[in-house]
């Protein structure tokens, strides 16, 4: 199923040197079949992501953005095309593409520490001695400011804290790509802002490559280097890619009136609600 990786110009792609991106999504399609009915969720999606880039994928619900993330994660298989990470085909899940799930997905029978330690022991069990792994778990918990709750179980901490631990677990695997699946979707606005700031700081410090699914326009503009806007499904594809040329470090309050910020915000909103309004919304008008 390895598609040829020849240099290929695509109107929606950034121009890449010889088409060799750090992560390359090459003309992938994905169909789900239930019985005789087949639904094409994604059609001919191509995208290249450079190392250290923060890319958001935004679109209406049902546009297949979560499917795209699951494909990159390897949790589902592509129907056509290929996904290449550092020129290796992605066809199974693995810790080098760590996922932060929307509903945190911490194991409730393990403490915060043990949840992260499970990942660290699995990924580094053979390479690092025990004391070093322990220090690494604590380091990652400190990174998300959760070291104080290391002995608590997920049921005993708030939703925002759980998501922080989920991020710590993903970071602790030292992934090549960090995949965030609507990580703040279930949180209240204030908690969400705190976590967005944390993610920004971590990204600035570690320089991770990040793909984030979101349906929040402000979140996408605030965090991303590029915003990938999806058309509506079925057979969704990339409608437009927006370069967010805001200087970093970005500060939430300074951006509120920043002309580029406002322009970006407007561009995304126009894409989502004018040109690719949800069919249901159009019908309601």
């Amino acid at each position: 199923m390895i598609a040829p990786v020849e240099p290929r110009s695509h109107t929606l792609e950034m121009p890449f040197a010889a088409g060799r991106s750090f992560l390359k999504v090459d003309r992938i399609s994905k169909s789900f079949s239930r019985g005789s009915a087949t639904t094409e969720v994604l059609r001919e999606v191509s995208l290249g992501i450079e190392k250290g880039e923060f890319v958001s994928i935004i679109g209406h619900s049902g546009c297949g953005k979560s499917t795209l993330l699951n494909l990159v994660a390897g949790l589902t298989q592509v129907s056509h095309g290929a996904i290449l990470l550092e020129d290796h085909e992605v066809n199974a899940p693995g810790p080098e593409r760590a996922v932060v799930f929307q509903n945190h997905s911490l194991l409730p029978w393990l403490t915060v520490y043990e949840n992260v330690a499970l990942a660290v022991d699995k990924v580094f069990g053979s390479r690092k001695p025990r004391a070093e792994r322990r220090a690494w778990v604590m380091h990652n918990l400190e990174l998300v400011q959760m070291a104080h709750a290391k002995d608590k179980r997920p049921a005993e901490i708030s939703g925002g804290m759980k998501q922080r631990v989920g991020i710590a677990r993903a970071l602790s695997m030292e992934p090549k790509v960090l995949l965030l699946d609507e990580p703040f979707g279930a949180l209240d606005a204030l908690t969400r802002a705190h976590l967005q700031d944390s993610v920004m700081q971590i990204h600035a410090r570690l320089g991770n490559t990040v793909i984030m699914i979101t349906h929040d326009v402000d979140e996408a503009v605030l965090l991303s280097d590029r915003i990938v806007m999806m058309t509506n499904g079925p057979a969704a594809t990339i409608g437009e890619i927006l370069d967010v040329q805001l200087p970093r470090p970005r500060r939430r309050l300074e951006l509120v009136a920043h002309p580029i910020y406002l322009a970006m915000r407007e561009a995304v909103l126009k894409f989502l609600y004018e040109r690719h309004a949800q069919p249901a919304l159009l019908a309601a008008e």
Binding site: A73, G74, L75, A92, P93, G94, P95, R97, A98, V99, F101, N103, S105, L107, P108, W109, L118, A119, K122, V123, R153, P154, A155, M173
Partner: protein, 304 residues
Amino acid sequence: MSANANRPQLVVASGARLGASKPAPSVIVPLKRPKDSRWAFLRPMFVSWLTNILPPLIVLAAGLIVWELACSSPKSSLPAPSKIWTDSRDLIVDPFFVAGPQDIGLGLRVLTSLERVAIGFGLSAVAGVLLGALVGQSVWAMRGLDPIFQILRTVPPLAWLPISLAAFRDANPSAIFVIFITAIWPIIINTAVGIRNIPQDYRNVAAVLRLNPIEFFWRIMIPSAAPYIFTGLRIGIGLSWLAIVAAEMLTGGVGIGFFIWDAWNSSRLSDIVVALAYIGIVGFILDRIVAAVGHVATRGTQAS
């Protein structure tokens, strides 16, 4: 009790406030502490003990009185409680006496039966969880095995006994096998349901971490399915205890089941009644032990 002691003081406080002519600011009236404050911590325990233990004791006493009255006539076919006490006092008072090879206390007999149950139930717990994990995890294993399990589980425990006697040619392993085959079905079925109900999120986490099947079994499957598994184990231990008595009646030996059969053959009805009480109490304790272990083991497995 403390509420009764405090109520008059509350009335006084509110009465004083009502009687005042000017609108006095609401005052916090300190309630007098009960005098015996040193033992106050015992009070809730005592109250809960009273509310939980007293009703069954009353019912038990009433039952014994009715029974005594119903069986008091000399022509009665069943012994009255007073007669049981005079006939079988040695069995009631001392569970662990040894007066000869076949004349031992009921506690010792129960221990023999429990040993068989422990082996049979232990084996069925291990095999049941493994088979249940297989059936719950693999669609093809479920399609192949589930219908057979559903048929086999309806076979009454004792129907297995002749077959197992023929296979093992010895009473003790046969009884253990009957326990095993009786207890295993609810364990398999509940485990399989628990495995099937593992949230996809946990499977995704395991997939991203690349847990191998053994790690997945221990780190995800068992903890996640633990509440279901323990439900199965609890049903299983109850069924084992039901089956052991019947099996021992037929296989003989030292167990509590054979004791009942032996007492029936020698017309010692009072001994049978005492043995029934033993069996009931031990069965109750077994159930509570498994429930308590399950309670401790499944702490924190409820997703939030």
